[in-house]
């Protein structure tokens, strides 16, 4: 079979003219078609991080617990007693827009493989999902047709996640679902997985040992997902849906077999190195493994198990067929590995060997199809210092914004203030309401470790082998980051840390997924750089290094991009699972208190959007993100941790989206084995409007409750820590009653509020 000739059109489909010049310089000749394909995927944004690398290196990645920093398939941290956890979050945004079910499913599959490649058995998964609104908005861009499409994308994504995770047997224990018009044509699907591994049994993606055989294991290679990595490195236009063939098809059953076979093979001691074939399939796995070991590889594609006939070298190298792994075996022990994989009904075939030097040589039907220097495909990949420019709105100060927002809010608020109606609107807003419709479609209990059910501040899975438990959450806030990317990133990291603290866990490390529009636009690149700076400051404050992550650029369609959306996956450690804390009030008569202080942080809030109807675009111009003091945040968190550790509190709940009134309502709602409770609060205004008292989104606040006997001890811990602390009420009756400065502003039965909160999402989806 003859390869196509290299024409200008063909070059343009693969790399930029400058990049092509660099290829010729590296090779000292023109590449052939197969080689051009290899360069194009290895140098794609998705694989090479060419626009983000110069910024990412500013992130803190070292720490006492860090065993494997970024650069491997997943990062690994020490949790004590010779056990470690491996975790990572990764985007599957582009495929999930084109084909929601398979896009989301293979996103889950990919992240699970990243984790078990390290030798870790996945014990928990989460997802951060962002969609356009489910109801039409006459004033905005969401027509009925678009709202209906958003619903079908959401349903497809949720079904795809469940399909994969449930069958694989990993509990999907948490995550977030958020809505904004900016995600109408660009949904975000970020998948997280965490696995457990013994410290001395961690595996790496290294092709070491000259002469060692290279094995291909798992599913057969087909033509699906060719150029998936390239597709994920470009913006969409109205022909996006024609890219469906670039989306891979997932088979969770095969992945489950692959997991069990890989873990068994790892125990055999016959494996030298192992890597998942994810984006850019066989190409990136072989190149990266050789690169990490400083070796060369010779592969014979004729030996690759194939499920289609007549595949070319180009197609096989670029295919993103799922559920495949590349293994470097210890010489002479390949037979043992083949037997283990065959036991699990999987293919395992020697397709090449590790050689001296630094070249990747690919042979097909006896012909040398590619001969490339490995390091040039990775280290020498282009790195861009893309131009950056702050948008005009970024220079508008807080005071000016506050005045503009106040005027706009005045105009939007007409007539009597009905605070109960506001509370109900917020409770049934899609961002705040219960997501049980989503998480009940996920098996969140398999493996019998799930100590806190989904819907809480953070998920908790205990580690059976120890007394410990791992907490985890995914948090993003595109709105905050759009208004102020620097502060937005700090707020997001702070909230993620606080969520872990609320279950009684000490935050230990972070993984991130940075979802942005085109890096070729200077304002986007500016927001990206600001995000990194904010994340660095906050991660240093909480001593939570970034150990893995992923950058997803080009989340835009026809020039409309997503909000800058850094998703933070924060993992925490509970030394003793018996000390875990949940958010619900436990007992009538318990005292309710607030750690932290409520300020006037109402402008960029759920209240502004869901109640006043101020759009995201307006808020970018006139809103101010809540003011954050990282030192205070740290104090509040440490206080909560101390209270949890001394077992002084009965509940703790992060006070964030929707403000104090929403947090209190959520503490009142029922949970497994806990009937709903009422609460009576007596708040002081401290000069704030009632709306601000109830719905301001000031950070660094945690609602706690405790038995009256512990009241003195709790207060003295708060004092000793220097933490703002105020008793605000008690658990009583069946109603939520709130008074401000002595006069009642709200009184409603909790059961009725809970019904509204619980059924809002399904009624939107079924409308």
């Amino acid at each position: 079979m003859t390869s196509p000739a290299i024409t200008p059109e063909l070059i343009e489909q693969h790399v930029t003219p400058e990049e092509y010049g660099k290829i010729i310089e590296i090779l000292g000749r023109e590449p052939n078609f197969t080689e051009l394909g290899i360069f194009s995927v290895m140098w794609s944004e998705h694989c090479s991080y060419k626009s983000s690398r110069v910024h990412l290196r500013r992130l803190p990645t070292a720490g006492e617990r860090v065993i494997v920093p970024p650069g491997e398939n997943a990062g690994v941290v020490d949790i004590g007693d010779d056990w470690c956890v491996a975790f990572k979050v990764e985007s599957h945004n582009h495929p999930s827009f084109i084909e929601p079910f398979q896009g989301a499913a293979t996103g889950v599959g990919g992240i699970l493989r990243d984790v078990f490649t390290m030798g870790a058995r996945p014990i928990a998964a989460m997802n951060s999902l962002r969609f356009g609104p489910l109801a039409p908005n006459e004033k905005g861009a969401t027509t009925r047709k678009i709202a209906n499409r958003n619903k079908s994308i959401l349903k497809g994504v949720v079904e795809g996640i469940g399909f994969y995770g449930n069958c694989f047997g990993v509990p999907t224990v948490g995550g977030e679902v958020v809505f904004d018009e900016a995600y109408n044509l660009n949904p975000l699907v970020n998948a997280f997985a965490l696995g457990l591994v013994r410290k001395d049994q961690i595996f790496f993606g290294k092709a070491s040992g000259i002469g060692n055989p290279v094995l291909y294991v798992g599913a057969k290679t087909g033509r699906d997902g060719i150029h998936g990595a390239t597709m994920a490195s470009a913006e969409f236009d109205d022909e996006a849906l024609e890219k469906r063939p670039t989306v891979q098809v997932g088979d969770p059953f095969l992945e489950k077999l692959l997991l069990e076979a890989c873990l068994e093979a790892m125990r055999s001691g016959a494996i030298e190195g192992i890597q998942d074939m994810g984006a850019a399939g066989l190409t990136s796995s072989s190149v990266e493994m050789a690169d990490r070991a400083g070796t060369g590889l010779e592969l014979d594609l004729t030996l690759v198990p194939q499920r289609e006939t007549g595949m070319t070298a180009y197609e096989m190298l670029l295919s993103e067929s799922q559920e495949r792994m590349l293994i470097v075996a210890k010489a002479g022990r390949e037979r043992e590995l083949v037997e283990i994989f065959n036991k699990w009904d999987l293919d395992a075939v020697v397709i090449g060997k590790v050689v001296e030097g630094n070249r990747l040589k690919v042979i097909h039907h006896g012909e040398l199809m590619a001969d490339l220097p490995v390091d040039k495909l990775t280290d020498e990949a282009p790195r861009y210092e893309r131009p950056m420019e702050a948008p005009a709105y970024a220079s508008v100060g807080r005071d000016e914004r506050a005045a503009k927002w106040k005027a706009r809010a005045q105009e939007a608020r007409h007539g009597e203030r009905d605070l109960l109606q506001v509370l109900e609107t917020l409770l049934s807003s899609p961002d705040i309401c219960s997501k049980h419709w989503v998480y009940e479609q996920y098996d969140h209990m398999v493996r019998t470790n799930t100590a806190i059910l989904p819907g809480a501040d953070a998920a908790v899975v205990r580690v059976k082998e120890t007394r410990r438990a791992i907490s985890m959450c995914l948090d993003g806030n595109g709105l905050y980051s759009a208004v102020d990317p620097l502060e937005g990133a700090k707020l997001t990291v702070s909230e993620a840390a606080r969520n872990n603290v609320c279950v009684g866990a000490t935050p230990i490390a972070v993984t991130n997924c940075l979802n942005f529009a085109s890096p070729e636009r200077p304002k986007i690149m500016w927001a990206f750089s600001q995000t990194i700076d904010g994340m660095k400051a906050a991660c240093e404050t909480f001593d939570t290094p970034v150990i893995s992550g992923n950058v997803s650029f080009y989340n835009e369609t026809d020039g409309d991009g997503v909000l800058p959306t850094p998703t933070i996956g924060m993992v925490g450690l509970l030394e003793d699972v018996r000390k875990l804390v949940t958010q619900g009030f436990k007992k009538k008569g318990d005292v309710i208190a607030l750690l932290g202080t409520t300020n006037d942080d109402l402008s960029v809030s759920e209240y502004s959007q869901a109640v006043l109807g101020i759009s995201t675009n307006e808020l970018i111009e006139i809103g101010s993100v809540p003011a954050l003091d990282l030192t205070l945040e740290k104090t509040v968190q440490e206080t909560c941790l101390k209270l949890a550790d001394e077992m002084l509190i009965a509940s703790a709940h992060d006070c964030s989206d929707g403000g104090l009134a929403i947090a209190i309502a959520e503490c009142c709602f029922s949970s497994l084995n806990n009937a709903p409770d009422g609460a009576a609060l007596e708040l002081s205004s401290n000069g704030l409007d009632p709306e601000a008292v109830l719905f301001s989104e000031s950070p660094s606040r945690i609602v706690i409750s405790f038995s009256p006997e512990n009241a003195d001890s709790v207060a003295s811990v708060a004092e000793e820590m220097g933490c703002p602390f105020e008793v605000i009420g008690k658990v009583e009756g069946d109603d939520l009653k709130i008074s401000i400065d002595g006069s009642e502003v709200l009184n409603a039965p909790v059961a009725a509020l809970e019904m509204k909160w619980k059924h809002a999402l399904e009624s939107l989806l079924e409308a």
Partner: protein
């Protein structure tokens, strides 16, 4: 006393059953690979939950052809205990060890949540340490748990006390709202005529610790362990 937990390709609640039997019931237990054909030495076999063969064709439809299933049938015929949970229940129906079939949930979704079960018959080896009509809190996690059977089968199930668990509300009332999947007559679990084979959709192995929200599943495993002991005595 010795338990075996079957492992098919795609079983994923095998570790959970193993953990409960060894840790909370405190009995010796082995994993049994689906190609094994000898079950001698075991007193009870658990057919665990999961997605055997990826639920391809139909949940449980392929697992019933696994070599171990012939041995399981003989094992059951000898009066030994066979306990199918979730996918295990589906496999036992497909294999003809229990009557009826499990169809797609009536809302067409996978459903994972805690539900309430009423013990309909406490004169079985799996429930004889539980008070009759007691309400147990045990989670479900399935897409195909909608129990169906023809009228004749249903009548004989009723008459012979083979309906062991029904979905109910927290007060033990059998209501339409408490039926999570559309099962006929809220059926959550049934046994065979001889009562040594039980299948149930809910996961008692997920309800054996306070930490996980419920202890109620232990009562089922303890009843079974007691029955094995009684049989040996």
């Amino acid at each position: 006393m010795k338990f075996g937990v079957l492992v098919f390709p795609g079983s994923n609640c095998d570790h959970d059953a193993y953990h409960v039997l060894s840790k909370h019931v405190g009995q010796p237990v082995d994993f049994i690979w689906h190609r094994q054909t000898d079950l001698s030495g075991y007193d009870a076999v658990i057919v665990p939950g999961g997605f055997s063969y990826g639920d391809y064709l139909r949940a449980g439809a392929l697992a019933r052809f696994s070599p171990v299933m012939k041995a399981v049938k003989e094992f059951a015929a000898e009066g030994k205990f066979v306990f199918g949970i979730c996918n295990g229940f589906q496999i036992l129906c497909e294999a003809g060890l229990l009557p009826g079939a499990l169809m797609r949930n009536n809302n067409l979704h996978f459903v994972c949540k805690h539900v309430n079960l009423r013990v309909e018959n406490n004169r079985t080896p799996y429930t004889d340490e539980i008070t009759e009509a007691k309400v147990l809190s045990i989670p479900i996690a399935h897409a195909d748990g909608n129990y169906v059977c023809d009228d004749e089968t249903f009548q004989s199930l009723e008459e012979n006390g083979q309906i062991v668990f029904r979905y109910c509300d927290e007060n033990g009332e059998i209501t339409a709202d408490s039926n999570p999947n559309g099962s006929r007559s809220n059926i959550a679990g049934i046994c065979n005529l001889d009562r040594n084979v039980l299948g149930m959709m809910p996961h008692p192995e997920r309800a054996c610790e306070e930490l996980l929200g419920s202890n109620d599943g232990r009562e089922i495993f303890r009843s079974l362990a007691g029955s094995i002991e009684a049989l040996a005595a």
